[in-house]
């Protein structure tokens, strides 16, 4: 069971996407796991052949427990017949990079029985986490339910229609099931966020910096660019802010990495993006190599990520390896955010809303669109001087949007 974020202690295996005997390649999605926060697609971290599935769908397993046994692809040399087998994504708890985690040898031979049935239809079934939970409770076969959610996904309300005698004029806004369950999920998520943030507040000596950035040039460029584009290709200001932050993180590697007793910079920039979920809660999956994506690619990645975060379809690598997180509360109308760092990261960049404000420039007072950018950083890893460098870099980069 991979660690899908520092706040996760256990997960429930929902379904297998592979069978014993299947050949898998690094990055393939092999299983779907439900956590307190979301439904996550688990990717495999190396090439090999699935030998055995060790955990049945519906079972909860602690972080680090082997889920399956995968044999490394046998080399040509006959002497090496007994290549070590490795369990899927047995991430070290709290470790941010399951990729590095070496597997524990898989358990007793008796447990190596493959899961007897993984209905093929279940493999591509789309359903919200809440719907899955309710369906399991009520013994409803999700495959038999017509989904009304995005992409035909089964949402909780569909189950009500499936179980209750369908009234032809049933209102869409049917009360979504027993209220207690929804609150359970909410409560679980609040607990998970609370535990992680409490750890952050307890362990990380935060320092906070803020700066105001003139957005006139960036927004003018954006308006002009979007004017020539069809609606599906338009960029949001948030994409510019993310790209500038990603490039700045590359410039200031002291803020892009992990703290586990000492600071370990990350060679790649995997930008965590805080996504608020409908109905409450928060999740901060990563856009991988955000500094190397073009603005268009970054915008597409952001759109995809936000959509999947809200639909409960994130991938394990997105959950486990952000190197620096960005929270953008501009749409919520606040001027600035004083962030709390996600351990084991060492910094968090926050943006408030872009709004017209008085702005002094060249001895004149004018009105310009500006944004408050803030940094929360870990004093164990850096001092304010380094932090200031990051915010200044973001500012500088945003003044040349055409180069982003």
């Amino acid at each position: 069971m991979p660690s899908l974020g520092a706040d996760m202690e256990a997960g429930t295996l929902l379904e297998w996407r592979v069978q014993p005997g299947d050949t898998v390649h690094r990055g393939d999605i092999v299983a779907v796991v439900d956590t307190e926060k979301s439904t996550i697609e688990v990717e495999v971290f190396e090439d090999g052949v699935v030998e055995a599935l060790l955990v049945e769908p519906g079972t909860e397993a602690p972080v680090g427990a082997p889920l399956a046994r995968i044999a490394a692809v046998a080399p040509a040399a006959p002497a090496a017949a007994a290549r070590p087998t490795r369990a899927v994504a047995a991430g070290r708890k709290r470790a941010a990079r399951p990729r590095k985690a070496k597997a524990k040898p898989a358990a007793r031979p008796g447990t190596a029985e493959p899961a007897p049935t993984v209905a093929p239809v279940a493999a591509h079934l789309r359903a919200s986490p809440l719907a899955r939970r309710r369906a399991a409770e009520r013994g409803i076969d999700l495959a038999a339910v017509a989904g009304s959610g995005p992409g035909g996904a089964v949402v909780a309300a569909d189950l009500d229609r499936a179980t209750v005698v369908p009234a032809p004029a049933a209102p869409e806004a049917a009360v979504p099931g027993p209220p207690g369950r929804r609150e359970d999920r909410q409560a679980a998520m609040r607990r998970a966020i609370g535990a992680l943030m409490a750890r952050s507040a307890r362990e990380i000596p935060h320092y906070h910096l803020a700066t105001t950035i003139d957005m006139a040039t960036a927004l003018a460029w954006l308006a002009e660019t979007n004017e020539q584009r069809s609606v599906s290709e338009r960029l949001l200001p948030g994409a510019l802010l993310l790209k500038a932050t990603a490039l700045a993180a590359r410039e200031v590697p002291a803020l892009n990495g992990f703290w586990d007793g000492s600071y370990r910079p990350s060679p790649a920039v995997h930008l965590g993006v805080a996504v608020s979920l409908r109905g409450g809660g928060l999740i901060a999956p990563a856009i991988h190599d955000a500094d190397r994506l073009t603005l268009d690619e970054l915008m597409a990645a952001l759109r995809d990520l936000v959509g999947r975060a809200r639909a409960g379809r994130l991938r394990s690598s997105e959950m486990s390896d952000p190197t620096l997180t960005v929270t953008n509360l501009g749409d919520q109308g606040v001027d600035e955010v004083h962030g709390v760092i996600y351990p084991p990261q060492v910094a968090l960049v926050g943006f408030g809303r872009v709004a017209e404000r008085p702005w002094a420039c060249g001895g004149m007072l004018g009105v310009r669109p500006t944004v408050r950018a803030t940094l929360a950083a870990d004093h164990r890893a850096t001092d304010g001087m380094i932090g200031a460098r990051l915010l200044n870099a973001i500012d500088r980069l945003l003044q040349h949007p055409e180069d982003l």
């Binding site: 309300a157 949001l236 948030g238 409908r278 759109r303 959509g307």
Partner: protein
């Protein structure tokens, strides 16, 4: 498209973005993004879905005109009328 048809369309598009939002419960004159708790990504997805369904493209400079339920309905009804 008349106003009633446009409203039904809006309800369907909103359902795909914010399934828990009940269009009838929204103040039709108030800012749609606040009423339905849509962020800028949701709003872009709404405008995008409108284009996919109807071919009506709302340029960014017209966003203020579609910023409420009433405004959206009026804009789309007018745009679909002028296309005929």
């Amino acid at each position: 498209m008349n106003a009633a048809e446009t409203r039904t369309l809006l309800a369907r598009l909103l359902h795909g973005i914010a399934p828990e939002v009940d269009l009838d419960g929204l103040d039709p004159a108030a800012p749609l993004q606040e009423e339905a708790e849509l962020d800028s990504m949701d709003f872009l997805n709404l405008v995008s879905a409108l284009y996919d369904e109807t071919g009506i493209e709302v340029p960014e400079r017209d966003y203020p005109q579609v910023a409420s339920v009433d405004g959206f309905v009026a804009y789309v009804a007018a745009a679909s009328g002028s296309r005929r």
